[in-house]
């Protein structure tokens, strides 16, 4: 949430996060390089440039695997949400590590010749019809371009100006980049590697990423399927979406009505309000958020909205869709037609049950 743009809105968490990322990268590169130097010596020493290139490549690929696991992990276990909070910095760091790998590879393998290294990169191998001889560098180049595009547009400035849906679609290209990089590895280094370890680790990484996405996706799908059974009765505009008592005080829950978008319900201070489940920032699940200081607080990055009108508290100006809501008995009913973002809706009053 910002009324103006700064390069990075630092806070303690981001500093710790970035220190862990930077420290992890330095340690990884150091261990890889030192092991290579210590284990391959004398006439059988591996070139320093090639060791550095491989250390950077494996580091970037490992980081990308971790990045792709964070999303579904955070969906399945909220203790991983802190990893999601500053994931963009991890993404930018991954791009920089991959860029360093590419710079050494292009300079070392494609430089020093009679052709411009970038021309050589695209023309020295044109065996596009052979799997074993395929120019796998091209795949890495396209993946790097995608990572660059994502790193360059990672700032909230681009998120705001492109709009959350377009920005989100752009950043979904990470899956194409991942696929390209898996092929880059499979058609490159794995074609020559005699030890099975690297191939096994790449395979395990792909399986973990795919499995986590499938499990998280299946959970979301089951939730939506349950929701699809909720729809207004003929001639009625209200839909029963659950019991008040199913929602803890100061917390939210999520329902899906028909084929519509997910609706977030919040119970707070003897009231119930309904808004879209989609945060205006990065599409975070607001229904999994909490009411803090009277505002709906997104679990991903802490963006806030007032539950009664879906507007961020001043001086912020973000707005989200709201929904008409009422409570009948202890049941919550919602009109599933979204109101324009920022529309004020009278919260439904809840008669709190007094304990004896």
């Amino acid at each position: 949430m910002s009324v103006g743009y700064v390069s990075v809105q630092w806070n303690r968490h981001k500093r710790i996060y970035d220190a862990c990322v930077a420290g992890g990268i330095v340690l990884y590169l150091g261990v890889f390089f030192a092991a290579g130097k210590a284990l391959y010596t004398g006439r059988n020493a591996i070139s320093g440039e090639i060791l550095a290139m491989r250390a950077l490549a494996t580091c970037a690929f490992l980081m990308l695997n971790v990045i792709l696991c964070i999303g579904p992990l955070a969906r399945l276990d909220r203790r991983f949400l802190p990893l999601l909070y500053n994931r963009r910095h991890l993404g930018v760091a991954t791009f920089l590590v991959a860029l360093a790998h590419a710079a050494i590879a292009i300079g070392f393998y494609h430089g020093f010749g009679n052709v411009n290294p970038f021309v050589a990169l695209l023309t020295s191998n044109t065996n596009f019809t052979s799997l074993s001889a395929f120019p796998y560098q091209t795949l890495g180049l396209f993946a790097l371009l995608i990572l660059f595009l994502m790193a360059a547009t990672s700032h909230d400035f681009w998120l705001k100006n492109l709009g959350a849906p377009a920005w989100k679609r752009l950043h979904m290209l990470v899956y194409i980049a991942y696929g390209l990089l898996v092929m880059h590895v499979a058609l490159g280094i794995l074609q020559t590697q005699r030890s099975p370890w690297l191939a096994s680790l790449v395979g395990v990484g792909v399986v973990i990423v795919a499995t986590l996405h499938l499990i998280a996706g299946q959970r979301e799908r089951r939730h939506d399927e349950r929701g699809s059974q909720l729809s207004p009765r003929a001639g009625e505009e209200w839909v029963d979406v659950g019991a008040v008592d199913d929602i803890a005080d100061q917390r939210g829950s999520t329902v899906t009505v028909g084929a519509g978008e997910r609706i977030a319900l919040f119970r707070y201070n003897g009231c119930v309000s309904a808004t879209t489940n989609v945060c205006a920032h990065q599409g975070g699940p607001l229904g999994e958020g909490k009411i803090i200081d009277g505002c709906i607080t997104c679990p991903w990055h802490g963006w806030q909205y007032r539950p009664a009108d879906g507007r961020s508290p001043p001086p912020f100006a973000e707005k989200i869709h709201t929904y008409r809501v009422r409570v009948v008995g202890r049941r919550i009913q919602v009109d599933p037609t979204p109101l324009p973002p920022g529309t004020a809706v009278e919260p439904a009053r809840v008669e709190e049950v007094q304990s004896a």
């Binding site: 806070n11 862990c20 990884y28 261990v31 890889f32 802190p82 001889a133 074609q191 679990p299």
Partner: protein, 259 residues
């Protein structure tokens, strides 16, 4: 966390249980990454025992510009009259232009040696690295008069087309798929193409590749017939001959087949 009322917001103080969780989860993740880095690094292929002697060296012998730049020096081993050292320039460039004017003369060449098994190259130093020389004895000069050529007949071989400069130590490793583009650039830049085979006992044999007439592979024959197969595992057919200590394969380009 779902069972408690704790809630994480990045710009607020973290709940204690979450801090405890992250306190072991993040270090564990980093330790796992380091273990992976160590494992992957130690499982790299042995890059071979090619070596680039970076100290300056001089050789005196008869220089040849065909089929590729080379110098024949008096042999120290009893089996051959002369030993052959291929001449290349810095980077991914052959030594062609630098020896053409002195083709057939006794010269002194200055540079650095790369070698792996029986394959030897000299990277010519900057400047005037090839000069006429008269320090050889008449006997040695006579031994270098003409190469001793022995025809060995038609052969079919399985192995890899390499650029011998990288393979012999300029890059470690300088072979295989990841080195394909580099080897292609080296060969197209004038470094002689060679073929390497490895027998069941792991012994490597090296073959200098020429066209069917024994000339350097250039132009379309090189770019269309040979370069697409560089660094791949291929089968190759041709006429083999031995020139002094060097095996030369007059290759039938149409026979090259990726395995």
């Amino acid at each position: 966390m779902p069972e408690t009322n704790e809630f994480y917001v990045g710009y607020l103080k973290s709940p204690r249980t979450l801090t405890v969780f992250l306190g072991w989860a993040i270090p564990s993740l980093i330790v796992a990454a380091l273990a992976i880095g160590w494992l992957v690094s130690r499982s790299q292929n042995d890059p071979g025992d090619g070596v680039w002697h970076h100290e300056a060296n001089t050789l005196v012998g008869r220089v040849g510009a065909t089929p590729y730049p080379l110098i024949r020096v008096p042999s120290k081993s009893p089996g051959h009259a002369a030993e052959t050292v291929l001449l290349v320039s810095e980077g991914k460039h052959g030594g062609g232009e630098r020896v053409a004017a002195l083709d057939g003369r006794i010269v002194r060449v200055r540079g650095t040696i790369l070698e792996r098994d029986s394959c030897r190259l000299l990277e010519l130093a900057h400047g005037d690295a090839v000069k006429p020389d008269d320090s050889l004895t008449a006997a040695d000069t006579g031994r270098l008069a003409a190469p001793i050529i022995v025809a060995l007949g038609e052969v079919t071989l399985r192995g890899e087309i390499i650029d011998p400069k990288c393979y012999s130590g300029a890059m470690k490793p300088g072979e295989g798929k990841t080195h394909k583009e580099c080897a292609t650039l080296c060969i197209s830049g004038g470094i002689p193409p060679m073929f390497v085979t490895i027998d069941a006992a792991g012994r490597r044999s090296y073959y200098l590749l020429t066209d069917p007439d024994g000339r350097a592979l250039t132009g379309g024959a090189l770019h269309d017939g040979l370069l697409p197969f560089v660094a791949d595992v291929v089968e190759i057919r041709g006429t083999l001959e031995r020139r002094d200590d060097l095996q030369v394969l007059r290759v039938d380009l149409k026979s090259i087949r990726r395995l």
